[in-house]
Symmetry: C4
Subunit: 214 residues, 4 copies
């Protein structure tokens, strides 16, 4: 990978989306067209297209969505925006996020099936990478809480639960969807990448501690 | 990898087979010459050769099989077509597939040993990537069913069970072979790749849910 | 990767730190800005910066710390040295290390949670890669002992426990921090890399033997 | 990797050893200087050096050992041959191998700890990749048997057990060493690579079937 590719957060949003997706494909987070990324810049949202292998996307395939007029330019070849688009827009609006990453990570699917309404974990160093919501980060003795919402047949049907969640957890930077996957967001693509890597790590730690009987 | 390699489904069938195999080798799906791929184009079938390390194959080693005359041109160096060839041809003919992928994935071997005659899973989002058989995809609340057939000493001895399966499951896009591996097919190489990635993910989810006692 | 990148131990300390971090990122040892590396050369310590994705660091971002004057030059963009800096300096001074690697490896987090005050393992061949402390290596029938210290809210609060450890285990080349991660050191970057790879392998062997009931 | 690197078995033995080691490092088979490879060509044995990170080796570091005179040329920088050299030479002589691969694979360490004197497995398709010893391969209903010998403090102390093994299992192509690792050999580097990939896969299948209670 070129230096530009290695620094996804220094590039145009369409390039950032493509290079992050290639990276996340290796983690098996966005297999078989699953998952997606949205990045807000000014009044535009750049959104991965629907039905495309995420590791093969090219910047010209990314959808440019005009938030003010609620219209979009199709990606190369007439591609339509991800079914997650309403969820991305809600998270931009309600929580001030500028980047939302959605994966089908197996760790997320398993934790969403084990925990009831909320995943929580405390006393692991990596928690310090996570935001408290007031501009500072959590301490390693704090508890990271990630709400879990029920899955729905269509992505847009998750909207009511998501809107409820944004009110109950105004400082959340992630939500698990039952037996579906994970949405993580942040004020920049760099922050969102740090958060999702840290959360997936913490989900894996929780699962493995459980399997070891701790 | 060049852009051409990253877009295996845009290339000549022989190149598609080679780049997919390199990708699947990393997943440990086609180790030690195991596994194979067949792609139908017009009345030709392009088929990976027998006895060759799958991650090292070159396009000139791929066998060009003439379906009308039932003859083939050897691959470079006199290579013979995969022992799976009759199975690939049957799936092209009976189910209209244009690409068949065969792996020895460990997830497939384990699930074939645990489940009796059929692997099935429901209520996982990734199921939406799988075809229903009528041109639409399954919903996440539908049940994905993959028939399991017994293994046989030689690949061609799987034919009777495979023919029986194609009648009982006319909408299937995959079959597990007990303690052997997985065959997955689709109308295009792109679709077959999406299906096999999604199925292997779902097999892994099923195994891990089971280990967690869910 | 170029030959220079593949030989991290032949390069300038800043390059060594960057190429090791890229390598360790693939192992999921330094995700989401976690972890860090310090290398001592003459009276300078080269230290990875705080708050930067470890796999994306460039040599000009590495902090050059003057051990004699206790001052440092900021990395490009005004970066500050890792919060681990006092720990790195203590290990350079008290134990004569020239390279310290700190990871958040999940194997380390799990073993630190299972074992009480010390991780130990014997009768595994890879133990022969580990130093005895007298210039020779352990035998495979010797016991590798790695002390475990309690975690603390801030990295510098680990100092008293670390200083106590260096007195109780003067031949140690590693310490586990409870539910936090692993520090490993050696007389050269090459040795530190060999030690951390061997230790993480041995932690994984211990965990897997335990899960198999052995 | 260049095409030459991707075809390790088409190159000079020293290049084959280096490219295989880079490949096996990714599998965590040869971490922290562990493991090694020997290739026989005419009356010379090409052998990986001792104490070198296996993924960083260069062809000029490989030892050229003259089997007729029992002498060798040091590798670049005065490197000495692997401590496994007597074992490699014995397997060349007693069993007619031309390539021996030695890894510290965790699957091998775990299976060597679980099974008593012999690892065996039957009824898995990948067994068909393994040699029967008469020029043909095993059938998938045959049983693959891999003897297990006790570990010893020094590699050369494994010689008596290895010599005994070659008499009791004249058709073996592999031996497990308790809590140490795996030696696999074949008539060519290509065959040895196919065998070791298939064996490690079968060891993993056995471990996972056991964990699933099958």
């Amino acid at each position: 990978m070129s230096k530009r590719e290695l620094h996804p957060t220094m590039s145009h949003p369409s390039e950032t989306i493509c290079s992050m997706c290639r990276l996340f494909y290796v983690n098996k987070w966005v297999l078989g067209t699953g998952g997606g990324i949205g990045i807000k810049q000014d009044h535009f949202a750049y959104i991965s297209p629907s039905g495309i292998e995420k590791e093969l996307m090219e910047p010209e395939q990314i959808i440019k969505y005009d938030i003010q007029t609620d219209t979009y330019e199709s990606g190369a070849g007439g591609l339509k925006p991800s079914a997650c688009t309403p969820l991305f827009l809600e998270l931009f609006k309600a929580l001030g996020a500028s980047c939302v990453i959605h994966t089908h990570s197996i760790n997320a699917v398993l934790c969403s099936a084990i925990y009831e309404n909320e995943f929580n974990i405390t006393d692991v160093e990596q928690i310090k990478a996570m935001p408290k919501g007031d501009g500072t980060n959590l301490r390693n003795v704090d508890t990271l809480r990630i709400p879990i919402i029920d899955n729905a047949p269509e992505e847009q049907d998750l909207m009511p639960a998501l809107e409820k969640m944004t009110k109950e957890y105004p400082n959340a930077c992630a939500v698990l969807v039952k037996r579906h996957g994970l949405f993580v967001w942040g004020p920049t693509p760099k922050k969102a990448k740090i958060y999702i890597e840290s959360i997936d790590y913490l989900l894996e730690v929780a699962l493995k501690l459980r399997q070891l009987g701790i």
